[in-house]
């Protein structure tokens, strides 16, 4: 019984302290919001999405994203908003462009070099 009461405290506390702050026009918008806040990194933290952070800047960014969704902004526009202000690293999934090319394909390049080295080594042996 005691355990059940303790557990209910845990579950109820998350209900009473989260959500209901953000109001959306539709369920789809709400889903978009929760997807987006998991894709945007907290600019103030070492690593963690703004969904997991209650740093002041993350709270502000969540409110702003909710506002932008209600104003009809697309996901891409919202991500661009965040990126223009906090840099490429604010997005967990960086876009492929000239500066992130090495980031995306560097590991494969490295793997290829190691693989080639391995083949040559065997031939010498």
């Amino acid at each position: 019984m005691k355990r059940i009461i303790l557990l209910s405290f845990i579950f109820l506390s998350s209900v009473s302290f989260s959500s209901e702050v953000y109001i959306f026009k539709s369920k789809a918008d709400e889903r978009r919001f929760y997807e987006l806040i998991h894709e945007v990194r907290c600019p103030k933290c070492t690593s963690g999405s703004i969904a997991s952070s209650n740093a002041p800047v993350s709270e502000d960014l969540k409110i702003k994203i909710a506002e932008l969704i209600n104003e009809g902004y697309s996901n891409k526009e919202i991500k661009d908003y965040a990126r223009a202000r906090f840099g490429n690293e604010v997005l967990y999934d960086p876009e492929i462009n000239s500066t992130t090319l090495f980031l995306w394909f560097g590991p494969f390049l490295f793997l290829a070099i190691v693989f080639l080295g391995f083949i040559f080594r065997r031939k010498i042996g």
Partner: protein, 174 residues
């Protein structure tokens, strides 16, 4: 073939050492600085002291915008340097960030006021629009364009290396 392999075994650590030596000793490497030349977003805030409304047109043509708060410890450390800049004739406008007006005014009365006036951004809305992640942060602004955005404490070293070159290039504060 064997020589090629030896060459690679040598070149990888040497390359690594050179790469990190380069990054760690580079004079221009300041993680807090960005130079993206964005415009100041539209805003409408109240003045901290006089409570009169302020908009973009009220900003000086050549100025520093300093994000600060009375709860911010590093702002207290930075404060002395801002007073020095003010005495050298540099216009500094304050962006008071997520702070109670009374606390902020007490802080200025206690330690001295380096600002010509302060925008009171209680909710942090302008700060968010400008990409502020905390306090202190400093913007160098000319005709509504942000030339330098520096996150962290501005001191003599940062001023000389990050701000002064841009100020000289743009012939500001003459």
């Amino acid at each position: 073939m064997k020589n090629l392999l030896r060459f690679f075994i040598l070149i990888i650590p040497i390359g690594g050492i050179l790469f990190f030596y380069n990054i760690l000793t580079e004079d221009k490497f300041y993680p807090g600085a960005s130079f993206k030349n964005t415009s100041v977003p539209q805003f409408e805030l109240l003045s901290l002291q006089s409570k009169s409304p302020l908009i973009n047109d009220d900003l000086n043509n050549e100025m520093l915008l300093n994000v600060w708060a009375s709860w911010c410890i590093t702002c207290r450390i930075e404060h002395g340097f801002l007073m020095k800049l003010k005495s050298e004739g540099i216009t500094i406008t304050g962006l008071n960030y997520k702070d109670e007006a009374s606390d902020a005014i007490d802080w200025l009365n206690l330690y001295g006021n380096p600002y010509n006036y302060n925008l009171h951004d209680l909710k942090g809305s302008l700060a968010l629009d400008m990409g502020v992640t905390g306090a202190p942060e400093t913007f160098l602004i000319k005709n509504g364009v942000v030339l330098v955005h520096y996150s962290g404490e501005v001191n003599q070293g940062i001023w000389d290396k990050v701000f002064l070159p841009i100020i000289q290039d743009n012939e500001m504060f003459k």
